[in-house]
């Protein structure tokens, strides 16, 4: 068939992916504002289009038409380059995500490494944004962001390694295929670690330390306006799209549905993950940067290491254990370890209250 031709496949998949990416970014902007609105007992955008659906499009048009201000004394090249540098890698991650059996841009056999590698480039871009704009707020934001990225990369990677061990493959498609039951049931601890660290990776509440408006006034993107700001905005939501897609793929069984397989279960899972992120955002206050660091190093890293150990032991010594036993043991173990560990871990200074 003609679409089995490599080049045709590449073009069509790329177009679909880009369309998917931008469509969901725009829809997520709307969803976020609308859903957060409902969480906050207000209505959110409701004027442009039915239910305010075209709000995202209107926003895009607005930022595109705005004047592009380049402040004095900025590092001009980096100022131009860094939004792109932050934006492009986010889109690139989608290349290895399978949307259906056999529908994937490229089925890399080192897909997981590719994801880990590419996603860290984006954080460099974000840091450079903060650095290039010659603003103290921006610099503080960038520094905070960079520190957080680097820290949270570690538990995240450890979890990914445990996934690789469990599925026996590095290909993302392989991991999806290996999930006879979703990984979240198999490895709840891994899911918890991965979810929290990816929240930090994409700068979502409660880890939005690098652009917290109440302290450093949007941090790294403080001096950006117009299209460059739109780019950073796209990074934020693009990361959210990619991250929810990744969680849905890696932990919720990807394109595998209960009744049908294909893109629709994946999209549903992805939206559910995103709504969960929004729910967290609507509820929780922000952590400070040092508390978020301490959470990473003192709480998540031990858990991720333990998870790696646990998975490795399971695969090495009990490869043929019945599924229900594994599920049972891992759920009990997760609850127990989180309960014990969080008793030891203190997020802040305790005083003699009550």
């Amino acid at each position: 068939m003609w679409y089995e031709n490599f080049w045709w496949h590449l073009v069509i998949a790329a177009v679909i992916l880009i369309a998917y990416f931008f469509f969901f970014i725009v829809m997520f902007i709307w969803t976020e504002r609308r859903v957060i609105g409902f969480f906050q007992i207000r209505r959110g955008p409701n004027r442009i289009g039915p239910l305010g659906l075209f709000q995202g499009i209107a926003d895009v048009i607005k930022v595109m038409l705005k004047e592009d201000i380049v402040p004095n004394k900025t590092d001009k090249i980096l100022f131009w380059l860094s939004p792109l540098m932050a934006f492009v890698p986010v889109m690139m991650i989608l290349a290895v995500i399978p949307f259906s059996k056999g529908f994937q841009l490229v089925d890399l056999n080192v897909g997981i490494i590719y994801i880990a590698a590419v996603s860290s480039i984006s954080s460099v871009g974000v840091f450079l944004c903060g650095y290039a704009c010659n603003n103290k707020y921006g610099l503080i934001g960038g520094m905070r962001g960079l520190a957080q990225f680097i820290s949270y990369e570690i538990p995240m990677l450890l979890v990914l390694i445990s996934l690789v061990i469990s599925s026996g493959t590095m290909s993302v498609n392989g991991i999806v295929a290996a999930q006879s039951l979703p990984n979240i049931i198999f490895m709840p601890l891994a899911f918890v670690c991965y979810f929290i660290s990816s929240l930090a990776e994409i700068n979502r509440t409660p880890f939005d330390v690098m652009e917290c408006d109440s302290e450093i006034v949007a941090g790294f993107n403080i001096e950006y306006s117009g299209m460059k700001f739109a780019m950073l905005y796209l990074v934020e939501y693009g990361e959210a799209v990619v991250m929810s897609t990744l969680v849905a793929t890696l932990f919720l069984g990807g394109y595998k549905g209960i009744f049908i397989d294909g893109p629709i279960p994946l999209l549903i899972k992805m939206v559910i993950v995103f709504l969960f992120i929004l729910w967290i955002r609507a509820t929780l206050p922000r952590l400070t940067v040092e508390k978020s660091m301490s959470l990473c190093w003192k709480f998540l890293l031990p858990l991720a290491l333990f998870n790696l150990l646990f998975t490795a032991v399971r695969i090495t010594f009990f490869p043929d254990l019945a599924q229900w036993i594994v599920v049972l043991v891992s759920i009990v173990m997760t609850v127990l370890i989180i309960y014990l560990w969080s008793g030891l871990y203190k997020p802040g200074r305790e005083l003699q209250h009550e």
Binding site: F39, I41, N46, A282, L284
Partner: protein
């Protein structure tokens, strides 16, 4: 207590989920509208041109200078029913004569006063001025000092008012008036005007009655009183002084066709405490009478006056002038509750009187030849029937003062002699009359304090006027005693806004010299002050047309002070949100916009019943409104089912 990571977060997430389920509380504007409370203050001031007289009070009250008024020079119309005239018992046209003074016409002013009041000089010094307490200017700051303006007018008496007098032909009837006090003199004046022959009997050696003996000379000089009396005397009145009439009925047959009883209130009330029969305990009225008639009284150095009325002030100031070194006034309440004029109290304090508030005498006794008064401290309790806070004695707070004389100036009352034979009340202190001031004996009339109890000069004058009317009618006259004495004046052009100054200070003679003699204390204003004071009058009776009434919306802060300050209730604030948009250029709302604006009940509670009930967002708590709707729907369906049946 140890907390485990996650529990609190999950609890919080439950709360947010609950609120998500509750649904939004905001509304989608054009489709849904909020049900809000009515807003009672806003830029859209409502203005009633019929009530507005253009007095500029609102412009002055505005803290941000956002109201601008211009009035026409000529008044649009004359209003009647002014507070100062309505409150005056004798209906002296205060507004009119104040205006005459303001335009530099004190002579005309006197004519206007004379039309209603035959004792202008006496009133100018001692009137209780109910007009001032009713004055509209009081809502702005302090009332216009109408009495002092009257004094100014009286000082400019050039006899011009005589020209317009219409003296009736002699009727041949004669009237006996018992008592040459304010009531008697007034009645005499009007009856003489109507052509009757009048004889005034009095047991005192001079005319004036209570004005002569009840008011000390430093408040009402004898010259002023005699000036008024002389006018009446010149008209042909016959005075019989030092004559006490015991039986008025006997006069009726003996050459008199009618008798007016105007004997006044000359008895002092007792203190009602043990020891007051002592010879050094004097009644205030008797004391003043003795001083006025020139008797020598030894009061010693330490004098205590009990009471807080004007009589008490007169007594204490008289005592100071008689040479007493230490004069105390004991009053049960505080200065705020004192019935005496504030100015009188001030002057008394100035003259060295020691005011002891919240103190009341308990007993008077003599010890080693020294008269002593035991007093008790009081404190203010709850509000009593008279609207003042009643004093409550503090136990164990007694203290003793050494005194030489105690003067009881708490109150005074008349005693109607048995020999008069008229109908009296039970305590013999009032003659009972009908509305025409007639007693139960035909031909005998009564007026003044013996009808009213202890009252004011102007009240007595008012009663005497009614009595004179009745007597004239009784004697066959038409009973019309109105006079027109003043020449028609053109209505004055507006000299701008009313004088914004506060009430002008009175001028008094120097304290050190005045306490040594009985000369009049209050001095007359000069022309400048008098005219400035007269210009403070808002002129409630002249309605100027307001040519411009602008509200600068950009400066208005919706404080509502203009609405509150308007003395005539001509300003309202609006109850609409939407009018708060500025439609006109420069954000100025003009007269026309203000007239059409809807009115709210802010500061005009009389409008409250006309306006719709207030409702709020609070009302549409979802569950309840849903329940209501369901119930209504059920009712409707039930009704429709019934109808079908």
């Amino acid at each position: 207590m140890s907390r485990h990571y996650g529990q609190g977060i999950i609890k919080g997430m439950k709360v947010t989920l609950k609120n998500l389920v509750r649904g939004p509380i905001t509304v989608q504007y054009p489709e849904e509208k909020l049900n809000l409370a009515k807003r009672e203050r806003g830029i859209s001031l409502a203005w009633n041109p019929e009530k507005c007289i253009g007095c500029y009070t609102c412009e002055d009250a505005c803290p941000h200078h956002s109201i601008h008024i211009e009035t026409s020079e000529q008044p649009k119309q004359l209003r009647k029913l002014l507070p100062c005239i309505m409150k005056c018992p004798a209906k002296v046209e205060a507004a009119k004569y104040v205006r005459a003074i303001a335009t530099g016409n004190p002579e005309e002013a006197l004519s206007i006063i004379r039309e209603q009041l035959p004792l202008p000089s006496a009133c100018a010094y001692v009137c209780a001025h109910p007009c001032e307490s009713a004055c509209t200017r009081k809502t702005v700051d302090n009332p216009v000092a109408i009495r002092k303006l009257k004094r100014y007018a009286v000082e400019h008496d050039d006899g011009r008012w005589m020209k317009n007098v219409k003296q009736a032909e002699p009727t041949g009837k004669s009237v006996a008036i018992i008592g040459a006090g304010p009531a008697g003199l007034t009645a005499a004046y009007y009856l003489l005007r109507k052509g009757h022959k009048v004889t005034v009997f009095d047991e005192l050696p001079k005319a004036g009655g209570m004005m002569l003996v009840g008011i000390p000379r430093f408040r009402l000089p004898e010259d002023a009183l005699m000036h008024d009396v002389k006018v009446i005397e010149d008209m042909g009145c016959e005075f019989k002084f030092n004559t006490r009439v015991e039986d008025p009925k006997s006069l009726l047959g003996n050459g008199f066709d009618s008798v007016l009883l105007a004997t006044g209130a000359h008895e002092a009330a007792k203190l009602g405490i043990p020891g007051e029969d002592n010879e050094h305990v004097l009644g205030g009225v008797y004391f003043l009478k003795d001083v006025a008639l020139g008797k020598k009284i030894e009061i010693g150095n330490n004098v205590v006056i009990v009471g807080g009325g004007n009589t008490a002030m007169d007594c204490c100031r008289t005592a100071v002038r008689l040479g007493a070194k230490n004069v105390f006034v004991l009053y049960r309440r505080t200065r705020n509750e004192m019935p005496a004029d504030s100015e009188e109290i001030d002057m008394a304090i100035e003259e060295g009187v020691d005011m002891q508030y919240l103190a009341s005498p308990v007993r008077v006794f003599e010890e080693n030849g020294q008269l002593k008064v035991e007093c008790k401290k009081m404190e203010l309790g709850p509000v009593d029937a008279s609207g003042r806070r009643s004093p409550v004695p503090i136990e164990g707070s007694e203290y003793i003062i050494d005194v030489d004389t105690v003067i009881s100036a708490s109150s005074q009352y008349p005693i109607v002699p048995e020999s008069f034979g008229v109908k009296k009340n039970e305590s013999n202190s009032r003659i009972i009359v009908d509305r025409a001031m007639a007693t139960d004996i035909p031909g005998i009339y009564a007026a003044g304090d013996n009808v009213l109890g202890s009252s004011t000069v102007i009240q007595a004058v008012a009663q005497a006027k009614t009595a004179a009317k009745s007597i004239d009618t009784y004697l066959g006259g038409d009973g019309n005693i109105t006079e027109v004495l003043h020449n028609e004046m053109p209505l004055p052009l507006r000299p701008g806004r009313p004088n914004p100054d506060n009430v002008h200070d009175s001028v008094y003679t120097d304290v050190d010299t005045r306490i040594t003699n009985f000369e009049c204390v209050e001095e007359c204003w000069d022309q400048e002050t008098a005219e400035a004071e007269a210009n403070r009058c808002l002129r409630c009776d002249l309605q100027y047309e307001v040519t411009h009434y602008d509200l600068k919306g950009g400066q208005c802060v919706y404080c509502g002070l203009c609405v509150e300050s308007c003395p005539f209730g001509a300003l309202f604030s609006s109850s609409e949100y939407e009018r708060a948009t500025y439609t006109t250029e420069d954000q100025v709302l003009h007269k026309e916009h203000l007239i059409d604006a809807p009115k709210s009940s802010y500061y005009h509670s009389e409008l409250d019943s006309e306006l719709p009930d207030q409702s709020l967002l609070l009302d549409i708590d979802k569950e309840e409104s849903d329940k209501k709707k369901k119930k209504e729907e059920e009712k409707k369906t039930e009704e429709s089912v019934k109808e079908e049946k």
